[in-house]
């Protein structure tokens, strides 16, 4: 069957659809295609703003081969720039640092402000002369990458073609308006990275559904049973699951994390877990949220950077540690199945698989998005 027909089949209603074919998980050229169409053209998660807590903090990040850096400007704004000098293309920031004044290129010392303006060009007009008629500094600022901070995550649109973040994500921002407030990253007891030998999309797909809970997370299932879950599906933007029986973590004395203020009553016992397409997995609870940023490293390897956030600065370190342990355990339980699905996709006769029409629709929602975006991207190319 030709590629288009195969992807058309993915886009059928869940009862009739097949999953994405193997090449979307194993093939380097499809990986590259998806990188452009699904990651660069959309709002992708890059990092968390907590990585640059203070004014002047700058961190270089290589995003799918593109050297970038994130910086907290003098005006206390998070901004993202291409990490490349406008003179001879030298990398500007090699390692995380705190910028006191200007960003000075290590090669010929052109200087940029933290908001990207080129402010000095030493000796550019000859020794002792910083000016030259053909060097117009106002046109030689750093190349900025569109960015937006929401739920503690720095989102970027590399292609510069996506609608504004607030417009793109409006329905989700509205859905979770209760959590649209300062979130406090829990520090070193609240972040960890899991490396999985699998395509990044399998991490999304596994996250979307609750079907696997009884088998893969038997511990969770004792208090968060399958029948307490509901699907969340929003075509082309996000999908996931919610639970109606969230119970707060408590220490021996019965203390739990403080709630976010002014929450709707629904959140007393509800929690929601949503994959925001393409690469960010979010979770919200009355007393903490988390974000998992999926960073693909080729078609068959993914880093999952996990970060937990709380409602205030001074939460108990001990409790944070316990909460991190709990989540780490859950996410690590998923690793063998995600890696197993990756291995399974090397079977040449695997046809993408069939979905449970009842249990798998959030996963199919994601497949539909991938398939239709790829179809559109290919059409535009032809």
């Amino acid at each position: 069957m030709e590629k288009r027909a195969i992807l058309n089949r993915v886009c059928l209603p869940v009862e009739d659809a097949n999953g994405l074919p193997n090449e979307h998980y194993t093939c380097p050229s499809v990986f590259k295609e998806e990188k452009d169409i699904l990651l660069f053209n959309k709002w992708s998660g890059l990092a968390v703003a907590a990585e640059i807590p203070s004014v002047g903090n700058a961190v270089p990040i290589n995003f799918q081969g593109t050297p970038l850096f994130i910086v907290r400007t003098k005006e206390n704004r998070v901004r993202v720039f291409q990490n490349t000098c406008r003179h001879r293309g030298m990398i500007l920031i090699e390692q995380a640092k705190s910028i006191k004044g200007a960003i000075r290129c290590p090669y010929h010392s052109w200087c940029y402000s933290t908001d990207g303006h080129l402010i000095s060009t030493p000796h550019v007009g000859g020794p002792g002369r910083n000016l030259h008629g053909s060097i117009d500094r106002s046109n030689l600022g750093l190349t900025e990458i569109r960015s937006h901070v929401w739920m503690g995550v720095i989102w970027i649109n590399l292609s510069d073609t996506a609608p504004n973040f607030e417009d793109s994500m409006k329905d989700l921002i509205d859905r979770w308006a209760d959590f649209d407030r300062p979130l406090f990253h829990g520090g070193s007891e609240s972040s960890f990275t899991i490396e999985v030998a699998a395509n990044w999309k399998l991490a999304v797909e596994n996250y979307c559904e609750s079907y696997h809970l009884p088998w893969v997370h038997p511990g969770l299932n004792t208090y968060s049973r399958l029948e307490d879950h509901y699907h969340i599906e929003h075509k082309n933007i996000f999908s996931g699951q919610g639970t109606k029986v969230y119970k707060q973590l408590e220490d021996k004395e019965g203390n739990s994390f403080p709630d976010f203020p002014n929450l709707n009553d629904k959140w007393d016992t509800a929690a929601e877990y949503i994959a925001v397409y393409p690469n960010v997995l979010l979770g919200v609870h009355r007393d903490h949220t988390f974000a998992i940023i999926l960073i693909p490293d080729g078609p068959e390897k993914t880093y999952e950077h996990v970060h937990l956030f709380y409602s205030c600065k001074n939460t108990s370190k001990q409790l944070r540690r316990e909460n991190m342990k709990l989540w780490k355990n859950v996410f690590e339980e998923d690793v063998p199945v995600v890696q197993g699905m990756q291995k399974g996709r090397h079977a040449v006769k695997f046809d993408g698989g069939r979905f449970s029409p009842v249990m798998d629709s959030p996963t199919h929602c994601f497949h539909y998005w991938v398939a239709s975006e790829i179809q559109n991207g290919r059409k535009q190319k032809d």
């Binding site: 004044g101 000095s120 002369r129």
Partner: protein, 77 residues
């Protein structure tokens, strides 16, 4: 004359040491000193450009006066 030469050499050594130590604030000051000691404006501006650049990077309190020095000679704007 001899004494001056010695100062220049000393300054050079100090500049190299500050470079090695990555001591930006000190380095800016040493370059400025070299500028003020220079016998002509071209030499002075050469050193002052270095002083100003390093001062910018490190937020040296004299950054503005270094800038004004260069501006006076039409070397910066």
């Amino acid at each position: 004359m001899d004494a001056n030469k010695k100062t220049e050499t000393n300054l050079e050594v100090e500049i190299l040491v500050a470079h090695q130590n990555n001591d930006g604030l000190k380095l800016a000051e040493l370059y400025a000193e070299a500028a003020y000691n220079s016998s002509n404006s071209d030499k002075a501006c050469f050193f002052m450009v270095n002083a100003y650049t390093i001062a910018l990077e490190n937020r040296h309190p004299d950054t503005l006066s270094f800038f004004q020095f260069l501006k006076k000679y039409d070397r910066e704007s």
